[in-house]
């Protein structure tokens, strides 16, 4: 196959290029074409899987587009008005931000702590790394279902244990109140993702040269001084990546809440994406409104990520 496709450039070149000198236009065009061909798979990939869907979502957000009947024509800005006046619009944004703040702080601190813990070469290093990383191998939906069983009073092993320990007489309702539902979900997320962020930060930690630490030790730096002066600054690229992943992932939280709480109790755990889902499939069956909300979320995410990048860049300077 390669022998068939390779010859043309070779045979073309001598015909138009008698000797050394500036590359003629046709050759440049061929090289340009070649460049385009190399870029084509990626361009197609991005075009079909990102740009086209985004354009479609923009089109839907400006149309009266129902789940069952499809497009019923333009209606800008009705969808945006309906979505922003939805009774859960503000509360879902506030809840999503609250959840993002809690999850990000916990995951970053815990991820870094665990990375520092397993970085040192001890006898238990491999065991600890594996044990902490194992939950990351589980799909989020599977992990959520597992925790649903753990939290459900009918199957939970926690309540018998708590009763046996004498902590409580009645059973604890892990998902029964708004704050219990939030923290129970956060517990699941921390369990599921701490290992992942540990790994991410561990890679960064191991890229810091040992000489720098050696020099600090010779200079008599304390552990805290070393951590603040060397580890944190040199770990910044990894922290930035972890932070962006964590914030974006948390702002788009859906699976865990959908499985554990379905937005309840009393609509207290409706995230923005859950609201998008509700608009599209649960009752409203209105894809236009769901798309309008998606556009708002997309805009917010671009803004937040841009701010994060800008903040991290300015710190670098």
């Amino acid at each position: 196959m390669t022998t068939v496709t390779a010859p043309p450039p070779v045979t073309h070149a001598p015909a138009t290029l008698p000797g050394p000198g500036p590359r003629p236009r046709r050759g440049r065009a061929a090289a340009g074409l070649q460049g385009w061909l190399y870029a084509l798979p990626t361009a197609l990939f991005v075009g079909f899987l990102f740009i086209a869907p985004v354009l479609l979502v923009l089109r839907m957000s400006a149309s009266d587009w129902k789940l069952f009947t499809g497009d019923n024509g333009w209606n800008l800005p009705v969808n945006f008005e309906n979505v922003t006046s939805n009774r859960f619009f503000v509360s879902s944004i506030l809840f999503t931000l609250q959840y993002t703040a809690i999850a990000t702080v916990l995951l970053m601190v815990l991820g870094l702590g665990l990375a520092l813990l397993v970085q040192e070469s001890t006898r238990w290093k491999s065991f600890l790394r594996t044990a902490i990383l194992v939950p990351s191998a589980l799909g989020l939906a599977s992990a959520s279902l597992l925790f649903y069983a753990l939290y459900s009073p009918q199957s939970s092993p926690f309540n018998p244990i708590l009763r046996w320990l004498g902590v409580t007489d009645s059973s604890v309702s892990f998902l029964g109140t708004p704050s219990a539902a939030l923290w129970s979900t956060v517990a699941l997320i921390v369990w599921r993702f701490a290992g992942f962020y540990m790994l991410l930060l561990l890679v960064g930690l191991q890229r810091i040269p040992g000489d720098v630490y050696e020099a600090a030790r010779i200079d008599g730096a304390t552990w805290w001084q070393t951590f603040r002066g060397i580890t944190l600054p040199l770990l910044k690229p990894s922290i930035s990546l972890a932070l962006i992943l964590c914030v974006t992932g948390s702002l788009l939280a859906f699976d865990q809440f959908y499985i554990l709480t379905k937005g309840g109790p009393d609509n207290s755990t409706i995230t923005v994406v859950q609201l998008i889902y509700n608009q599209a499939f649960s009752g409203q069956n209105n894809l236009g409104r769901a798309a309008a909300l998606s556009v708002i979320v997309l805009g917010a995410l671009i803004l937040i990520n841009a701010l994060q990048f800008k903040g991290l860049k300015s710190e670098d300077q």
Binding site: S152, Q154, S170, F281
Partner: protein, 452 residues
Amino acid sequence: MKVWKRRRIAGAVAAVIATSMTLAACGGSTGGAAGSTSAPATAGSSGASGSASGGAGAAADQGVDDGTTLTLWTRAPLEKQAKALVEAYNGSHQNQVELTVVPNDDYVAKVGAAAGSGQLPDLFGADIVYVPNWASQGLYADLTDRIAGLPYADTLNKGHIDAGTVDGQKFVLPFVLDLSVMMYNKTLYSEAGLDPEKGPATLAEFADQATKIAALKKPGVSGTYFGGNCGGCLVFTWFPMVWASGEEVMNADGTESLLGGSAAQQVYSTYKTLNDDGVIGDGARDETGATWVAGFQSGNVGVMPYPATLLATASESVDVGVSALPGVDGGGSTFVGGDGLGISKDSKSGEQAWNFLAWLTSDAAQVDVLAKGGDVVSRSDLANNEYAAKDPRLVLINEIAGKGKTPVALNFQSAFNASDSPWLTLVRNAVYGGDSSVEADNTAITSVLAQQ
């Protein structure tokens, strides 16, 4: 559409010719196989395996059975019944139905996506409360004439047929009926000194009996249980208590909520008292419906409104007693739920799909598959069938099927079933809240129901 119309005309002409041949067979079938009509009855019920004349009869009255592969979607709660029906049909017909069972929570999204892209399967079921909406949005093909042509059309479950009727056109047939009934654990009743042969006849008796079971203080055992965070479960189990009390839950058009009525208030306050007294099992408050039947099935709940389709499953582990869902002062009713089944707008095999639908309502499917499997039949003339007769509980369930209702509202899903529905807010405020906000919450339901 043109092909569909031509086929319908051809089908109608053939139906006239064939009606005289098949009417005798259907008339004779209720009386059993004996008598001079037994031969055609057998040919009619077995479908494809009949003689040349039998085949023509089947083609005329019951669509076409020519070995076409049909696709059918249903949701997971009806998997057992759907599988049994499809297996029986495939075993006796040339047409073959490919069944796809979709998780309950994903079903609306899957149907919606397929409807938008014109890729609905030949046949698909819908939770009967969604049927009015889906039918009015044009997802189903019109079956008015075909249903009218069924010799037993008048006996088909009225609730399902009404829910599938939009502007006088009929779109679905009952696929599987799911009724809500009161189920109680006879063993626990005996232990609590209650009569194990007598379920609660009034709302107060229900509360009293549940309280006595809870008073046993057996570890893990509760008096009753319910889906406190599951709008669909609450509709299914509480609406009948209002109906049994002689009141309505909505106006006839399904545009106004009447759930602030006195009977409804009695239901809420009964559950509030049961909750305050610790009679309701742990976890009911955050029960989203995923495990709402589990406690009873494992023998840990005394008495609770329960789906009749799960009687056979529950009976494997519990000695189950059954009674109708009572009203405030007695009476009995049920929510005739389950799924309707229709031919999709996208089906290219309408004749063949009708063959399945016609068979679905035949004696062969209703008695030999559904009743045999312990399920409710959707034809009132078959209520006292040989299988039901063996189990008085099934006789009772079949009887109350006629007394029950299927609420019809275009916005049923957003008003009641959705996780953020105002109905769920009403119930949670009434049972778990401090102040009564029933009237305001009832108005919120009305505003959703009235949306165009």
